[in-house]
Symmetry: C2
Subunit: 993 residues, 2 copies
């Protein structure tokens, strides 16, 4: 049988060359084959850097190992052997035998770095024979035995699955026997005893230690392959959202030793400071040590700059390599090196992990150093990290101390970033009271509800025991920029006793805790909190000149703004939020939730008065209508109606000036920028207290019987409030509320205009499912506008008023062509649209949604990242349909997704005009919009030249072109509909089965 | 100024001619202009029947009256006057003056009959002058004064809005004064006194009686125009779903008098018996009387056939006219006539209202008489009435008595048709217990839940105080064919006291009530119930030969089956329902809700055992997975897992044989017909008791602590259960349940097959939103099937097994092309699809949905009639997308809409293969499917010839044609997508505002 040429699984590197360099066109593709480590080694080898020779077994070999029932694919063994031969030839050594043995390291290396997750075997090739050769060759018996015992332990533990603690036990007993405190205190005899002891472990287990080096290698490679799917690695990939990889590559490389004496050493370094981004060589090393010693923390590593004195030649070489690598990669590198008897070897280079602070600084400075262009700089900074720039931070030293000394109270979800410290309170009212006294409080709740918003607003941070990343607490806290740890399930909160427990720890009301919304950790006691520099500058507490971070951040965002095509607005419910939004770079307000203001101060009382009579007023009015011309009946109903109707009107009259003032504040702050005001949205029951205690208090405050409150709560109860009486349905039932709000908006805008402002109000009707709802509500608004104009003697409004709607009910999206006839803008409410399209309630989905993501049913939590295939398809449909009847309709999004980078990218792709998100997410949205524009407009995902200036500017011809396309779509769509109708009229033959 | 030719608003009839006959091409269009009455008068006049001359003012004149600020449109006055002149000329009389005065009747008449809703004025033209002329002319002073006082009262009441009781008061006091018991006892002097008294009312009111006849006419016409929008008429149109009409026509017609002596009379008649449909002349008359006397019930009218003796000439003429009218209209007519001094006059003919029994008989017999063809016969019977054929009925005499004697307890919604009588119980368990003792019970609940299903099944009928036409009670009751009155809001039910109150009436447990699910009325006490003949025949309690109704019904349905293209299946949860479904003509089971069986007998205990441990088992299994290789941890978790896992498996093992038996029953009953079994669907909390008392009982039954039950209920609580953990999400969390159900289906089918049956099982996965859910659940099913096959040594299944899904989540519809790759069939679950697409919860929407329909936001309750523009659009999209990836996919619907005629029509239009509905709706669906086919396939809405046989038969080429169309759609769709992508890449210019 003719032998088929086997696939190439193994790529050699060393001696200034690297086979892997031709395996793919881009570095990214190369990494998918050779893994990150293998790609770096090939790169460095090819560039002539001193890399110990070796070879990389591809990620695809690992994948085939799995599909091949955990056996090597055909050809792999031959290729490995051939490559060993190459190493032997290049070094003049032999593998597993002879006087000059090759020892190798076997290391994992996937396309994406997964530090510590997979297995490594060092010193492979040692056996009883080569041990002697090493002793001979190095004249260093201690070194040889030390290497051997390390290998025996690693191989036994990692490859054969022997118990780790058995090895520890042997080591400790030998150390005890020899009176050694540290491993390094062991004498040669001690090490020999350890080797004997280790061999005993193998014997007792019935698993023999293979003396054959190739057998060692084969088993070790298998162990690395298998470690790709150990639970730890799987979990890491899930947590870090690493998808679509085939497996891990395996790097087999000549061992070099940093522990061969004082002229040897090992270290890790970054080409820039990974914490600050400063352009200085940053790293640590230890002489006479192996890599693991640097990490182990027994000896304190030295700063890299001191190497200049210890080994000036190696240091100079390293500095040169540092420059070379940055030029090659045009990015900060994370390197590993070893000095063996005065000779420097490079063991790894990879893109360095960095804080957001370092990412911004490095990107800006690299541009200024002409190392990268603007396009690359803007693409270099992670949108996922960006908002960490604005959060206060816990003092890192104190955090380390707390972690070490059992100071962690609980861990939950990092729901809203930032560090905070304060006194624990369990109740929003206490929070407000204490905050008034100047106390810093942390609000700890089982979960939060709209009643808690006041307390959340004054709290340093919020902790909840239940709820996910999109729970009420998480969403509201993120919106406020308040740090939050959500769903810390270990916390047992006792409201009555005013305690929170976790295991044996107890914290009482008034005691201090600290927390990091970056990590989701809650600590006992006080930890110092540092405010964000950028916020300090924005709030005038620090001069821009004093903050390098602020200056660099500003530069970067300016570049992003040059590239992006999407507008960015903010969701802001009051002047304070609006002010923050502008500082964060928002170009308008995309969503003002008017009802959020209803909770402030006394206005909740007015609104509750309204709620208590609203249904009765409605019912009686209907009776009145039904009474026809029966005068007696009419009089009777009118008599009943008088009191509640007076209360109804009075409540709205009380709310009007308050709302008007709110809007005046927002319009004033926003200047010329548009502000979208949404009419009342949440179901009425959200404005009433659910707990009996609060109900009693409400009754007292209002001077009514508590039974009235209870009845109202009961009346308003809904089985599925999400699908209940809310949104414009309220406005349809109680048009006076819409009218009051419309009047407040218009009067506010007129007042601001008269005071010299330039308001651009937009009134938005929520939860529209059919155009008729919008027509009715639009008429209410327009009638009220006409009234205000008549009262003020105006012929036309002295500003532009737009009336539009949210598209958040699937039916609204499906019938968007009709809805667009009455709407000047759409704002996609993708939170609700996701709930209804996918059939998930945000409040309940936690139970199964994690499983769903885990099982790959949804790639991402659709409440965090817009579900493109489902919800996105409806958005796309609504965009096409909406523009088909109103080509100049303004399209935006104001769900939580507006601040999610992947979702912002989608918004760019479907051609929305803007996204709107919470003020603190505005920079993220700006950056994400820029990155999306670069990715889709210029095909520059992996860097490249900045687009010519004219390509970036909006073309005046674009609108015309868009119209042309729209017309064409309409034409084609007509055909589709005609065909569909034809099909409908000819159903497939009668389905009797 | 040149005068423009005015629009024609008035059409003359009389003297063997009728202008109106040329006004439109079809009778239907003519009615839209002349109204029903006007059209009939024109028809009869043109046919030479003896119709008093007159003229019709069009519906459009009425519409213009409204748009013209309640004034007559230009030209109307002239036209009315010209037509009066025509009447004068034809009769040789003069209007409002002279010795031979014209008296006229002014009658309303819309395109659709609205009996009694609008106004009528008789004897118009009488004044002090013409009164004398009439006395002179007739020599009958009594008649003249009687006519005058009637006119004065009608005109005062109807036209001028004087108080009706003022007239009654005058009449009564004159009668008292003259010692007259009846109106007819009044002497001439008495009548004169009445006339004087009436004139006094006018004077006291300050409104004068116009002596000018044209003024009388003008005011009366205005009154009729205005009565179009009186509250009563508006309500009637709402209740009877009368839409799209312009207004009412007004008919002004020469008065003829049936009260001019013993040679005069008046009557109403039907060309066939409107109760039974029997082909015999049916009617009543009174000699020497006016129309209102026949209705008033003071004198007993005579049967029409006795007229043959009283006035043989008139009777012969009437019989001849009866035949002529049926030949002209090809339908049963409802006529009014008057005999004036021996001369017969026809005053009205219209299509006769009839019971469903009459409708079926008349349609079948008219076909047999060759009066109509089959197409017309099938179209003649109302789908909205059809299911009344199967319901038992309350004795109509006793009902009339109860209505008269204050015997009505409450009125609610006619949620499920049928009459019933029984003892009131307030609790499902009591219902079951009493039913076992042989008692007939009526279950009265505030609302029902799945726990009540057992009680509902044994009850004669169900009454609820809350809930709409699609509430749990209504849906389940309709499914069971149990009469139901839902949402009887006046009922105050006190479970503790075991009483139900309504106003001052109280009914205690054990006392009798009766109810009609036809009318939605609940009566105090016992009323006799008559069973439906058709059901009696189906159940073998009556021979087919003894039931003419059954024979005729059968013929009609056979014709319907010849025409329809849609298959019709039934939703059936057990063998009993399946049996009924087949008797009703179902061609398969479209939906078996397996969980309904969980409530029967002890199986609820098994399932509750499962629920109590399910979450714990899941959690521990996950912990086990996460434990990795930590053996100690693994052992610890395994120890914890042992007991709950045993309970988990045991519960499922207990359910398996029960479910298998259920399915064996269904497959056996269904014969060769397919049966679709849906896997577990409702959220688990529905299987646990919510009331503390029931929780305690559950705990006792199961021998566990009640706290365990409470905790489970609390754990399972969801804020929006509609969007919660249910449907296939349960199967994803607990695949063992799906596997158990799949095994039960397969084992049942194998057993039935082995016993000689021909099962066609279909397994349906509910609530699929993404293809991946279906893939996972499909794999669970297929793996289990493979296991069963292996156990039984089968290489392939000896029957066809289909696996498909419900499309009920909008996302499932949007991604139907993907879903179809894994689904062999779709069944549209339009209940849930409506909830999610429109964003309404069925349980809560009652609050605003009525308003929504009233305000025209939705034309119909979308839970009753499929919302074509929204939900329907998603269905249409899913049909096109589904067929695009799987051209032979089988498509059906199994929501409540499957039994709604308008929705069935839509299913036909979009080309579904079948509809599935509750067994009792199957005939409705069959008829609706036939009518849809006739409407859309042959354009024969208004009758016409039967299609050629070959047109009715399914064409073998149809499939090929459908494929061609699909391919073409795909091509066009591709273009649309490409264009859309192009647009997406070129968003409109950067939206800075």
């Amino acid at each position: 049988m003719a032998k088929m040429a086997a696939k190439k699984y193994v790529y050699f590197f060393g001696g200034g060359k690297a086979e892997g360099m031709t395996v793919a066109k881009t570095e990214k593709e190369r990494k998918l084959i050779l893994g990150g480590k293998g790609s770096g080694l090939a790169d460095m080898s090819a560039a002539g850097l001193p890399v110990p020779p070796g070879f990389t077994i591809t990620c695809q070999a690992c994948a085939e190992f799995y599909t091949n029932n955990r056996k090597w694919p055909a050809g792999l063994e031959e290729q490995v052997k051939a490559n060993i031969a190459k190493v032997e030839k290049l070094t003049g050594k032999s593998f597993g035998r002879g006087p000059n043995p090759v020892l190798v390291a076997v290391r994992s290396g996937a396309a994406v770095s997964m530090p510590g997750m997979m297995d490594t075997v060092l010193n492979l090739g040692l056996n009883d024979e080569t041990l002697k050769a090493v002793i001979e060759l190095t004249g260093n018996e201690r070194f040889a035995y030390d290497s051997y015992r390390r290998f025996l332990q690693m191989f036994g533990d990692v490859v054969l699955g022997l118990e780790h603690h058995d090895f520890e036990h042997v080591l400790q007993s030998v150390k005890d026997r020899f009176g050694a405190k540290l491993d390094t205190d062991l004498t040669i005899d001690g090490l020999k005893a350890v080797v004997e002891g280790y061999k005993g472990i193998y014997e007792r287990s019935g698993k023999s230690f293979p003396q054959d080096a190739f057998e060692q290698l084969k088993l070790s490679m298998n162990a690395v392959f298998q470690s790709w799917n150990n639970p730890r690695a799987i979990k890491y990939r899930q947590l870090n959202d690493i998808r679509g990889l085939d497996g891990t590559a395996v790097n087999v490389q000549l061992m070099v030793f940093g522990n061969m004496g004082s002229d040897s050493g090992t270290g890790v370094a970054f080409t820039r400071d990974p914490s600050t981004g400063e352009n200085k060589f940053y790293g640590e090393y230890l002489m006479n040590a192996q890599g693991e010693d640097v990490v182990a923390g027994i000896r304190t590593p030295q700063k890299i700059e001191t190497l200049a004195k210890v080994d000036p030649k190696a240091y100079a070489q390293l500095v040169e390599i540092r420059g070379k690598l940055e030029k090659t990669y045009k990015d900060m590198q994370d390197i590993e090196f070893t000095i063996e008897k005065g000779t420097l070897y490079m063991l790894q280079t990879r893109s360095g992990k960095r804080t957001i602070f370092a990412a911004v600084r490095a990107a800006v400075e690299m541009f200024e150093e002409k190392l990268i262009d603007k396009v690359t700089a803007v693409q270099r900074v992670s949108t996922g990290q960006l908002n960490q720039l604005f959060a206060p931070v816990l003092d890192s030293g104190e955090v380390a101390q707390a972690e070490k000394s059992n100071g962690v109270l609980a861990r939950g979800l990092p729901a809203s970033p930032g560090g905070a410290c304060g006194q624990v309170v369990f109740n929003a009212e206490v929070a407000e009271a204490w905050a008034k006294e100047g106390k810093k409080v942390i609000l700890v709740r089982i979960e939060t509800s709209p009643e808690d918003v006041g307390g959340m607003a004054v709290a340093q941070a919020v902790v909840t025991a239940r709820g996910g990343m999109t729970s009420h607490a998480a969403v509201v806290a993120r919106g406020m920029g308040t740090p939050c740890v959500a769903g810390a399930g270990d916390l047992q909160i006792d409201y009555a006793a005013k305690t929170v427990r976790s295991g044996d720890k107890v914290v009482r009301e008034g005691e201090y805790v600290s927390l990091s919304g970056f990590s989701g950790t809650v600590y006992m006691g006080q930890i110092k909190v540092q405010p964000s520099e950028i916020i300090q500058v924005q709030d005038g507490k620090m001069k821009p000149a004093d903050s390098l971070l602020f200056q660099q951040y500003n530069k970067l965002m300016k570049w992003a703004d040059e590239f992006r095509k999407l507008g960015v607005r903010a969701n802001a419910d009051n002047p304070r939020d609006s002010d923050r939004a502008i500082k964060m770079g928002a170009e308008g307000v995309g969503l003002t939730r008017t009802e959020h203001m209803f909770f402030e101060g006394d206005r909740i009382v007015s609104f509750r008065r309204f709620i208590l009579v609203a249904e009765e007023v409605k019912r009686l009015r209907e009776e009145l209508e039904a009474a026809g011309e029966n005068k007696a009946k009419i009089d009777e109903i009118r008599a009943k109606l008088a009191a509640p109707e007076a209360q109804y009107n009075q409540a709205l009259a009380e709310l009007l000036p308050l709302q008007r003032k709110d809007f005046e504040g927002i319009f004033t702050v926003m200047g010329e920028r548009p502000a979208t005001i949404r009419t009342l949205d949440p179901p009425l029951h959200e404005f009433l207290p659910q707990e009996p205690g609060n109900q009693l208090e409400m009754a007292k405050t209002m001077g009514i019987d508590v039974e009235m409150v209870k009845r109202a709560v009961e009346n308003l109860h809904e089985f599925n409030p999400m699908l209940g009486h809310r949104g414009c349905r309220l406005g349809i039932s109680y048009p006076e509320v819409t009218a009051m709000q419309a009047r407040a908006v218009i009067e506010a805008a007129l007042n601001v205009k008269n005071a010299g402002g330039k308001p651009h109000p937009e009134i938005m009707i929520p939860l529209v499912g059919t155009v008729k709802e919008l027509q009715l509500q639009r008429k209410v608004v327009e009638d009220e506008v006409a009234k205000v104009m008549a009262e003020r003697g105006l012929k036309k409004l002295p500003f532009d008023l737009k009336i539009g709607t949210m598209i958040e009910v699937p039916r609204g999206a499906v019938t968007a062509d009709e809805v667009a006839k009455v709407a000047e803008f759409f704002s996609f409410g993708t939170n609700d649209l996701t709930q209804m399209t996918c059939g998930f309630s945000r409040d309940d989905a936690g139970k199964f949604l994690k499983d769903y993501v885990k099982q790959g049913i949804y790639d991402y939590d659709p409440f965090q990242t817009l579900d493109r295939a489902g919800v996105g398809e409806l958005v796309r449909m609504a965009v096409v349909k909406g523009r088909s009847t109103r080509p100049d309709i303004k399209l935006g999004i104001c769900g939580e997704h507006g601040g999610d980078p992947a979702s912002v990218e989608f918004c760019h792709m479907v051609g929305l005009n803007y996204v709107s998100c919470s003020p603190y997410r505005v920079p993220v949205a700006r950056l994400a919009a820029a990155q999306a524009a670069l990715k889709y407009e210029y095909g520059m995902l992996t860097g490249g030249k900045a687009p010519a200036k004219k390509a970036v500017k909006a073309k005046p011809a674009a609108k015309k072109a868009a119209k042309k396309v729209t017309a064409s779509i309409k034409k084609v769509a007509k055909k589709v509909v005609a065909k569909a109708k034809a099909v409908a009229k000819k159903p497939a033959k009668k389905g009797k089965k």
